[in-house]
């Protein structure tokens, strides 16, 4: 099953790598949003370090949604999804493969956006890089699990790309809130232990929703 999932992830990443359209769009969107957020607040009244965690996680959420659209949208052309369904691969493996490709996508955006925030907001992120990476990965896993499932559902509706954020954003609350809060603790120079209760929520969310979404996914693919 893992081999099949790897195969599907490779296929999606190959498509993405050759066109680069969604990744570039998400990247440019993230950088634009970082810059616009900075001007939307009065930098003399609110220190950039207080602004940064919220900005980071709002941007990841929206750029994630941007990329997740394509996950199943790309299968709509020539009804490629029918070939996927007909292939002798477990539906759960299809889900894991799609989710894996989306995870690489989201982590790729984060790898550029986090340094960009550090640069533009003048934050000393070097010393918290380790814990911050952990938070980013934990948050990305939950984001991608829920987003992949809802993406599979949204492409089959009349509203398509309008529906995905409407369905997914309430589910991102227990990701964005803990991620932003623990990032804020770290940037304020607090010890990692203080962010632990937030991290536990993230870990529990990841476990529950990766399993639940993988189990629910086959129901979205029946014909």
């Amino acid at each position: 099953m893992l081999a099949a999932a790897g195969l599907i992830a490779r296929k999606d990443l190959a498509i993405e790598f050759r066109t680069r359209s969604a990744f570039l769009a998400a990247l440019v969107f993230s950088l634009l949003a970082i810059v616009i957020f900075y001007f939307a607040w009065d930098a003399t009244a609110v220190p950039a370090s207080d602004l940064a965690p919220g900005v980071l996680w709002v941007i990841f959420t929206f750029s994630g949604v941007l990329g997740l659209h394509r996950s199943f949208g790309v299968e709509e052309a020539d009804r490629a999804i029918d070939a996927l369904i007909a292939s002798p691969i477990d539906r759960e493996a299809v889900f894991l493969g799609k989710a894996l490709a989306n995870l690489v996508f989201v982590l790729g955006v984060q790898a550029v956006a986090i340094p960009a925030v550090a640069l533009f907001y003048n934050l000393p992120m070097g010393r918290v890089l380790g814990p911050l990476t952990l938070i980013a990965v934990l948050a990305a896993v939950g984001l991608v699990a829920v987003g992949t499932l809802f993406s599979a559902m949204a492409v089959n509706t009349r509203l398509a790309e309008l529906l995905l954020p409407m369905l997914a954003l309430p589910f991102f609350v227990p990701i964005v809130l803990p991620a932003a809060q623990s990032t804020a603790r770290l940037l304020a120079g607090r010890p990692v232990a203080e962010a632990m209760s937030w991290l536990r929520i993230l870990i529990a969310f990841d476990i529950v929703f990766v399993v639940a979404c993988a189990l629910a996914f086959p129901f979205t693919l029946e014909d």
Partner: protein
């Protein structure tokens, strides 16, 4: 297809259950306003508790619980009646939750001094309201009945899974909401007259929920049958076009 044609009487028959439920709610409100003592600290503003709390109980626990349970059962048994129950329950639940979100701020302004605060319970209620609004919008965006049923069942079950997580994460913010005064380990701290009114309100609101659910379920049955009929004989229906029920 399998459903028998809807008895025509359904459409015109007097809904006695809904009438009884509305009368019961009206009676409870008369009792709450005129024959229940005024609370010493909060004054008349406390009366809204007899609408707010039962609506929250019905909307958040019964209605959305039913959406999740009926959804899970649908994925297992594939009975379209379960899908109709889930859809009806979600719609009625959104109405009750809207009442909660409207009455809460009306009470909060004089008592807390603010319309809205990011307290754990308020935030959880608001996000659940969003999830089930999304549920209704999702249903509206799918034409195929079985796809609609499966997708909304998945969302209904995941919505229930989401509750503890939202609750946990918003709970780490401090909470302003009054602590439970009826359902708590020690005995309820409401005076007996208020407690009676509260339980009457709980019962009458639950009855109203059941009546509305039944009415909405019947409507769904009739509309589904109409869509099936039309699909079977497109020509015989002439100009009468039934929108598929979402």
């Amino acid at each position: 297809m399998t459903a028998p044609p809807p008895p025509a009487a359904h459409r015109d028959r007097f809904d006695w259950l809904l009438t009884v439920a509305v009368l019961a709610v009206a009676g409870t409100m008369v009792r709450a306003i005129a024959f229940t003592p005024i609370e010493a600290n909060q004054g008349a503003a406390q009366k809204i508790f007899y609408i707010h709390a039962p609506s929250a109980f019905v909307g958040l626990y019964i209605a959305f619980g039913l959406v999740a349970v009926a959804g899970a059962l649908y994925l297992w048994l594939r009975d379209e009646r379960l899908d109709r129950i889930a859809a009806s329950s979600a719609e009625v639940g959104v109405v009750f939750t809207t009442v909660v979100l409207i009455t809460g701020p009306i009470w909060g302004k004089p008592i807390w001094g603010t319309w809205w605060t990011w307290d754990a319970r308020l935030t959880l209620t608001l996000f659940l309201w969003f999830v089930y609004l999304g549920y209704l919008i999702l249903r509206g965006a799918i034409d195929d009945a079985s796809v609609r049923a499966r997708y909304s069942a998945v969302l209904g079950v995941l919505g229930a899974l989401l509750v503890p997580f939202i609750h946990l994460s918003v709970y780490l913010f401090r909470t302003l909401h009054p602590m439970p005064i009826v359902l708590k380990p020690s005995s309820p701290s409401l005076p007996p007259e208020m407690l009676t009114t509260f339980f009457l309100a709980l019962a009458s609101f639950t009855l109203l929920f059941v009546a509305l659910l039944r009415a909405r379920y019947r409507l769904a049955t009739v509309l589904d049958a109409l869509v099936d009929e039309e699909a079977a004989e497109p020509s015989s229906m002439g100009t009468l076009r039934a929108e598929p029920l979402r």
